[in-house]
């Protein structure tokens, strides 16, 4: 039976601060060598779905490069495979995607000739391993027109999710988008399985509804539930994480370093595929000390690395210390430098003797106090930090900042903006 999945990958991910300033959230590096979207794409191919449309909109370049022809996922096929669907002109109602539902609506052409009974709609923003075959089986057995995968979330975080209420058969009886209070703790995972014809009907209807935000969670699902359509919830018990904020991004990554990682990344029966460059094995040199850390191929470590995640190609020079940090591809930490409690984007250079992550953690970031106040600091892509610079906690150093952009040390909560700032 042919199957087809749309992956929504156009989101801004604005709470991820600098990490998604220049790339879509699904393209944000994760887990020491992956990108967030790898989990969803790998779920597709591991579930036997080899026909996937990835809907992009915001800063799609890095996602395009990452997905390429789809080789790592065996999605480079003569039929099907992966297609990146960027908004385009030409069809009758063409414009930027107004919401998740509108994004699919504008791509209905892809459903015209496919011989499929259902359409899987996924989000590229989430970290989880899920066999969609089980969802398909549930959908068939329950006689649903649409099945929403749900997972239990803690009471205090229900206001971040779409919360569903169900009866004992799993039929959805209530749907509230980001409620303050609810009787249920079942959150929508942004994983929907639609009957193809029902989806088409509902999308056309939604497009013609004045005032609609054209969003699955906000508009379509509440409407369907309210009028008694066959909406069912499939209860997923495994790990699922929406790495929405910089803090949760940081914590979720570091959870993988613990004794009980949330997901087994090395499962040969459920490989998480990604685009990897050809890099030599990790080189741990004389005098190095590395523990409680992930270190990917191409890294070279002479210094001390503790409780950190080093993406491919990172070098840590002798006498340098990297602690409780995430260093993305090809970051270079100079001799005697210290990086503590930092998320450092790709290709950043930390000069010799620099100290990154120092002093008072209680002063929130000047520019984004909401997202940078836990003591974590963030450094944007390709920034160059001069030797012996001191950077305080909760600081934000923009992408492509050069040594000349620093007038002196950066105080806690300080901001150094790059050539094209995010504001």
């Amino acid at each position: 039976m042919p199957r087809y999945a749309f992956v929504l990958a156009g989101g801004l991910g604005s709470r991820l601060c600098l990490l998604s300033e220049r790339r879509a959230k699904p393209a944000v590096p994760f887990g020491g060598k992956y990108r967030i979207i790898d989990f969803t794409l790998s779920n597709c191919v591991n579930s036997g779905i080899f026909d996937v449309g990835v809907l992009t909109q915001y800063r799609p370049y890095s996602l395009n490069v990452h997905i390429g022809t789809g080789r790592p996922w065996d999605l480079d096929r003569s039929r099907g495979g992966v297609h990146v669907l960027q908004p385009s002109l030409g069809s009758v109602q063409s414009d930027w995607y107004q919401g998740t539902a509108d994004a699919i609506y504008q791509n209905l052409i892809h459903l015209r000739r496919r011989r499929i009974d259902e359409v899987l709609v996924l989000s590229g923003d989430h970290v989880y391993k899920m066999d969609y075959n089980v969802l398909y089986a549930f959908h068939k057995a329950s006689g649903a027109s649409v099945t929403v995968a749900v997972t239990e979330v803690p009471e205090e975080s229900i206001s971040s999710f779409g919360i569903l209420e169900t009866d004992r058969q799993g039929r959805v009886t209530g749907f509230k988008e980001k409620p303050k209070r609810a009787d249920s703790r079942l959150a929508s995972m942004g994983v929907y399985l639609f009957d193809r014809l029902a989806l088409v009907r509902w999308l056309v209807e939604d497009a013609e509804t004045p005032g609609s935000g054209h969003d699955f969670g906000k508009d379509i699902l509440p409407r369907l539930v309210a009028r008694g359509e066959h909406v069912f919830a499939y209860h997923f018990n495994g790990y699922w994480q929406d790495v929405g904020t910089l803090d949760s991004y940081y914590q979720t990554n570091l959870e993988f370093l613990g004794d009980h990682p949330p997901l087994e990344l090395g499962d040969p029966d459920w490989v998480i595929h990604t685009q990897s460059a050809d890099r030599p094995p990790v080189r741990v040199e004389h005098g190095a000390h590395v523990s409680r850390s992930f270190v990917a191929n191409g890294c070279r470590v002479s210094g001390r690395v503790e409780h950190s995640m080093l993406f491919p190609g990172v070098t840590v020079a002798s006498d340098a210390v990297v602690r409780d940090s995430i260093l993305m591809h090809d970051v270079r930490v100079g001799r005697g430098a210290v990086v503590d409690h930092a998320v450092v984007d790709k290709e950043v250079r930390v000069g010799d003797g620099a100290v990154v992550g120092e002093g008072d953690a209680s002063i929130p970031n000047r520019a984004c106090p909401d997202h940078l106040s836990s003591g974590l600091l963030v450094i944007g892509k390709c920034a160059q930090l001069p030797a012996n610079l001191v950077v305080g906690r909760n600081a934000r150093i923009g992408a492509y900042v050069t040594e000349r952009d620093f007038a002196g040390d950066v105080p806690p909560g300080g901001v150094i903006d790059g050539p094209q700032s995010m504001h």
């Binding site: 887990g31 020491g32 060598k33 080789r71 790592p72 370093l257 990344l265 090395g266 490989v271 998480i272 595929h273 990604t274 990897s276 460059a277 050809d278 890099r279 030599p280 094995p281 990790v282 080189r283 741990v284 040199e285 004389h286 005098g287 190095a288 000390h289 590395v290 523990s291 409680r292 850390s293 992930f294 270190v295 990917a296 191929n297 191409g298 070279r300 690395v305 995640m309 080093l310 993406f311």
Partner: protein, 415 residues
């Protein structure tokens, strides 16, 4: 220019490492196979058509090369072809030697329609741009050009030694001489004019040097040497193989694996990053993705997916992929092939090496073949060779120096 890669060698000298694989398919450098260096050279030298001649235990090589994707050889036409011995109505011989392997496939070489044929060995580790050799070859209007490199005098007995004049013209070619005035070894990299090779191939030659190069030289053909300066290693013996790997973890290795302009391409498995656990203590080592280390590792090369449990110690060793070094186990000066499990508190490389000359080739190393399961607390002496899937029954947990345990087929005990 087409390239023919000679990868059929069984490499007796590599013992259990080549029981089930060709020398070219032996793992090297923490994530590569020996042949990756030559295939990467071909790829970076923009050679579009490659034949790989296989004979001995080719399964792992075929598996590794496949359609040639990692090297960009998966073209619509051309690309990489695997040339295994085959039957015809008139011929049923295995490849009798390097030249014979090419002669038996000459039809297919001709079909590629190239005016020059590059013949290279798949058993050597080096980075070389074959286009520079081609340039010299053309400039000198040579019939054949051989790549040569300087080797220390004490090593000349291992190689074909070449003398050549200031114009590059070869004057003398000696195969593995005891004594020689020649300072350059032939690297096993030959560039032929197709026409010259065609004639010799009709004679059904066996050996590339004896039956092809020497006759060409004696016939007064234009045989030239192209000097190569740089890292070049023949890893055909246990000692040279071990040394070449361990050199990679020296403070300034002669061979730099990291080279973004000339990366070594290989068929990579998707594995998570190296996971260094609490208590890990690693120095002077290479570790590939998929490894998980909680013990101590010194001066070692560890391939993908190997686990070093807490309290285990690995030093001066090479551990191929998906090994497990159990808690408190000690591995020193050993080579462990794929899927070796070292039981808790076992010692691999224990006591003194055997003193007799019959074990000199092992250089005091302990060799463990694929799929061995070393029992808990066992002590495996130095100079021991453990066959594939070998049984340790009847050894009372102690295998003395110099012992050889025979290989068992994997389905023994099942069928």
């Amino acid at each position: 220019m087409v390239a023919l890669v000679l990868a059929g060698g069984g490499g007796e000298a590599l013992s259990v490492l080549t029981t089930e694989r060709a020398v070219s398919a032996v793992p090297f450098g923490g994530k590569y196979r020996v042949i990756d260096f030559v295939l990467s050279n071909c790829s970076h030298s923009e050679i579009a058509e490659i034949g790989v001649l296989t004979q001995h235990a080719p399964a792992s090589l075929h598996d590794h090369i496949g359609a040639g994707r990692p090297w960009g050889f998966d073209h619509r036409s051309g690309g990489v072809q695997l040339m295994q011995p085959y039957l015809t109505r008139s011929e049923s011989e295995w490849y009798l030697g390097t030249a014979h392997a090419i002669a038996r496939n000459w039809d297919r070489v001709e079909a590629l329609g190239a005016s020059r044929v590059l013949v290279v060995s798949g058993d050597q580790v080096y980075r070389m741009d074959y286009r520079r050799m081609l340039m010299m070859h053309e400039r000198r209007r040579a019939t054949v050009t051989l790549a040569v490199t300087r080797v220390p005098p004490q090593e000349s007995g291992r190689f074909g030694m070449v003398r050549f004049g200031a114009d590059g013209r070869v004057t003398e070619l000696q195969e593995k001489p005891r004594q020689t005035r020649a300072a350059h070894a032939s690297m096993g990299v030959y560039l032929f004019e197709t026409a010259a090779l065609r004639e010799l191939m009709q004679e059904r030659p066996a050996d590339m040097v004896v039956d092809v190069l020497v006759p060409l030289l004696e016939a007064g053909e234009s045989v030239h040497a192209h000097e190569f300066v740089g890292y070049w290693e023949d890893v055909g013996t246990v000692a040279s193989y071990y040394r070449a790997n361990l050199e990679l973890v020296a403070p300034t290795p002669r061979l730099e694996l990291h080279n973004p302009r000339w990366p070594v391409l290989t068929r990579d498995e998707e594995r998570p990053p190296v996971n260094l656990r609490e208590g890990a203590d690693v120095e002077d080592s290479l570790l590939a993705n998929g490894c998980r280390v909680a013990g101590r590792v010194r001066r070692s090369v560890i391939f993908p997916g190997t686990v070093v449990e807490p309290g285990a110690e690995v030093s001066d060793s090479i551990v191929f992929q998906d090994g497990v070094i159990g808690r408190g186990a000690v591995v020193s000066r050993s080579i462990l092939d794929k899927h070796t499990i070292v039981g808790e508190r076992a010692v691999v490389g224990w006591g003194d090496p055997p003193g007799d000359p019959a074990h000199a080739w092992l250089d005091g190393l302990t060799l463990i073949g694929k799929d061995a399961h070393i029992p808990e607390g066992a002590r495996i002496g130095r100079g021991v060779v453990v066959g594939l899937n070998a049984s340790f029954d009847g050894h009372g947990g102690e295998v003395p120096a110099g012992t050889t345990l025979p290989t068992r087929v994997w389905y023994e005990g099942i069928a």
